[in-house]
């Protein structure tokens, strides 16, 4: 976690996410009830209503915030459930192998093959509309992918010597799965969760925009539905859909930043390489060719150098003279 926070992108992501969650859950205390008809419909943003009013005369700001609460809750809950189910099934399949794996993989493959959207439409049509149904449908169509990915990782971890050592120590299967294998998948689980949450928020908004949700509830998707229904584009009332759209984009962006930062956490070499390229550029050299030659002048007097950021002479042979750091290699040498 500490490593994650060291990355600037992760910090921005967390901040953005934190702000969004704060606004969603605390902000609602400061605004009107979103279903209240507060003013004339389709009024542009003003001092009284910062984001204007909808086609029904409701406060857009209140709706955006209420929408955030609903959509984010569904999004994260679905993300969590997808990863939980995927992890259980994927790990069991990967760890036990044999017929257990064959049966579970068959189930996973069936769910993977099922066309998501039509299935969502059909199920949503049969069950009472609402975020709960949408959530259920998303979990049903989304868990299989994560299960697949986690199964591969579990398969690979299963063959590691520390798992064999645990078996030889007499540990039970469950102990090994929970304590030896799962902890080694933490970054995969975290990135799967983020991926699933992004998918869930997007899919949920999409389904509700199509009218498959409960249009009487306030969510980001229904906001967009109503905005379209009230012919926002034709009337030019951009404030009825832009705030919701931006909010979705902001959360998506925050999650993507976190996902990126997590990826790099798992591969620290990438960071080192970028750093190296920057340093070489500072000396007027490029990386990627033959090994560069940097000649350090002996510690003490700093010789004027070729490579300062202002005098960027391209060193043709990959050779540059840089000042040695005084006292850096303060060794005593014996003069024979």
């Amino acid at each position: 976690m500490r490593g994650l926070l060291a990355d600037r992108r992760a910090r921005i992501g967390f901040l953005l996410l934190g702000v969004s969650l704060a606004i969603a859950f605390i902000g609602s205390l400061f605004v009107h009830d979103p279903s209240d008809l507060v003013a004339k419909p389709l009024m542009p943003p003003s001092a009284a209503h910062w984001l204007g009013t909808t086609g029904q005369g409701q406060d857009v700001l209140a709706q955006t915030i209420a929408g955030a609460r609903a959509s984010l809750t569904v999004g994260f809950l679905v993300g969590f459930l997808v990863v939980a189910i995927g992890a259980v099934i994927g790990t069991i399949a990967g760890y036990f192998g044999g017929w257990v794996d064959d049966v579970l993989s068959l189930i996973v493959n069936v769910f993977l093959v099922m066309p998501g959207l039509p299935l969502m439409v059909v199920i949503a049509a049969y069950l009472p509309p609402g975020p709960g149904t949408i959530g259920f449908v998303l979990v049903l169509t989304g868990w299989a992918w994560t299960a697949r990915v986690i199964r591969s990782q579990a398969l690979a971890l299963r063959e590691r010597d520390f798992v064999h050592a645990a078996v030889v120590s007499g540990e039970s299967h469950w102990r090994i799965i929970l304590w030896e294998i799962l902890p080694n998948m933490s970054s995969l689980l975290a990135s799967s969760f983020i991926g699933a949450a992004i998918y869930a928020i997007g899919a949920e908004v999409g389904l509700e925009f199509l009218g498959l949700g409960d249009v009487s509830q306030v969510t980001w998707g229904t906001n967009l539905f109503w905005s379209a229904n009230d012919s926002a584009l034709v009337t030019g009332s951009w404030w009825t859909f832009v705030p919701t759209g931006l909010a979705i984009a902001a959360v998506g962006f925050a999650l993507a930043l976190l996902s990126n930062a997590l990826d790099e956490l798992g591969n620290p070499r990438l960071r080192g390489e970028d750093d190296f390229i920057k340093r070489l550029r500072g000396y007027g050299l490029r990386a990627g060719g033959a090994t560069p030659v940097l000649r350090r002048t002996p510690g003490g007097a700093v010789e004027s150098t070729v490579a300062t950021s202002t005098a960027r002479a391209e060193a043709p042979n990959g050779v540059a003279r840089v000042p040695g750091e005084p006292g850096k290699k303060g060794e005593t040498r014996v003069q024979p």
Binding site: F162, V168, S169
Partner: protein
Amino acid sequence: MSENLAQVTPAPASAIVSPAEQPLLQVQDLNMVFHVRDGLKVQHLHALTNLSFDVRRGEAVALVGESGSGKSTAARIIARLTAPTSGKILLDGENVLARRRATLDFRARVQMIFQDPFGSLNPVHTVGYHVERPLLRHALVGSRAEAKVRTKELLERVGLTPGNEVANRYPHELSGGQRQRAAIARALAVSPELVLADEPTSMLDASIRVGVLNLLRELKEDRGLALLFITHDLASARYLADRTLVLYAGHLCESGPSGQVMDEPAHPYTRLLLSALPDPRRAGGVIEPPRGKSGAPRLIDPAPGCAFADRCPDVHDRCRSESPTMHLIAPGRLVRCHLYAAGSTQRPTLPS
């Protein structure tokens, strides 16, 4: 080797055991055939064929062979990580394979150390965790606090001092040799009677290797631990093990006291191996090519006869049609080669 040896026709491995003491471990006719899928065909890979040998209490036995010899497969089977195709594994006379799953008692008696020092420790757990777990699992301690004390003692016993400080470190903070010592401490936690060491020093530097081998030897001596040492390195085998078993293509070729096997190798494969090893005393001389052909043994659908026939400098017609049997050529010395068949006066032509 004198010419007038008592030539006994095929001798079972148990013949060499003194009747008074039953060996701790008896491996009998172990066979392992893997089914390998090659496109639509299923092929049979004979990793081990009729492997039989014993390990006595407090004895260190080396199982030596190159890659493909089956030595690691044998270790995994004995550790009950893999089930063999057929065969028996007797621990104090009782066939442990009769039970489908290994019992906790078996796990307390037979432990294992692995080749990759980093791979055998879970990177997310501290060194202390690895040693405490078996103590807790086998109820060898009454409380977590007691487990920590025992862990400290075990870590110090293997040379990792101060024990409580090392216990708090993670595997990536230790060097290769230290990790291997930690793995040994973990194996010792349950006070096993037999430790299977699968190439424990192959991935360590030469200067560190000897330290770990010395530790194993010490532990064998103070605790009467039996060791089955799997390695491709004949030098380490001789250094640590009392007896050496040479495997080729899943068959036992030769066995006997380590010194004798290395000083007077009987089987042509052993002779080939020994002559191929680098010898610093030949520095400055001409590099001699090996006295025997190189090549991997055919493990998939092997040809009848001796597996080494294609490479053997002393091959005869009989070798290609008939599989050789085990011959007792001296007390405790077994060789599986037609050259030692009863009535045969032929001997390998390679100088030792």
